[in-house]
Subunit: 150 residues, 2 copies
């Protein structure tokens, strides 16, 4: 069980993380687009207004730059005695910080948040190349993810 | 393009659909548990309070019984210019009503709602045996769904 590099911290996303490069980190995962500081703040506040739903965690290095980010989003259901599930989404670790077990720590934290929030399961979607990584985090392959894009 | 059987309607879930057997329909999909009318109403109202997020659709037959149900849940993101996605969840069609294209109509309606709500994609999880059905609804296999259960 490896600890974080000295000076690194793990904490909830803050509205001023726009200035710490959180969108640059997300660009490792997919298209980020031309989000301005205003857009970012508006979206941050929309998520915050929906209580106990969007849990976004960042890792910050000793130079106060975001180097990893990930979310767990809670979904309320009628099935399973009005159960709740967690969706892990938008996991990204800066290229220069890979190989330091930061991804594993991020998934452990988000999984723990999902469990603490009462989820009966936490789920995520990933490519074949990431299956082994998520297995090391305690996840099991369950089924297929299908999509329609507009 | 087949139409619904005569007298069947498609509409948003109502709080009194507890009395029309919506939980019996969901029991085709998975464990429903011992949800009381009070529990159901409380959960319905929690979902409603989170505006523009939980879109739950039912099909009701000519005897005013729920015979199919499904949800699309909107998730706000930072990626893709602060984009939104739809999650199709908890699709169930009563066993006695299968083979009437009701499942296809349900997915078409939920996909349309997701698109109208501004999603850049709508996604869902399914077993191998349902891949062909969702392909007929316009979905494509994208990747794996993994889960951890508590
Ligand atoms: C576990 C994980 O991080 N999965 C992500 C998903 O959360 C993210 O939303 C998507 C973005 O891809 P897209 O821009 O093509 O929708 O990629 C991956 O599937
Ligand atoms: C497209 C569709 O309807 N997929 C459902 C999912 O929405 C539902 O929540 C789950 C329940 O199974 P569980 O009770 O084992 O979580 O089954 C299927 O994966």
């Amino acid at each position: 069980h490896q600890s974080l590099p000295a000076g690194y911290i793990c904490r909830p996303l803050q509205v001023d993380d726009f200035n710490r490069g959180v969108l640059d980190v997300l660009s490792v995962l997919t298209q980020v687009g031309g989000t301005t500081k205003q857009d970012f703040e508006a979206r941050f506040n929309e998520m915050l207004a929906i209580k106990n739903t969007y849990f976004i965690v960042v890792f910050v290095n000793k130079n106060d730059r975001v180097i990893a980010v990930g979310s767990v989003i809670m979904e309320k259901k009628f099935i399973r005695s009005c159960g709740t599930i967690g969706h892990i989404e938008d996991i990204a670790v800066a290229k220069s910080e890979q190989g330091k077990s930061i991804g594993k720590k991020l998934i452990d934290v988000l999984t723990h948040i999902g469990e603490q929030q009462g989820a009966y399961k936490v789920i995520l979607d990933c490519s074949d190349s990431n299956v082994k990584f998520y297995e090391r985090c305690g996840y099991k392959l369950e089924c297929n993810m299908m999509a329609i894009r507009f």
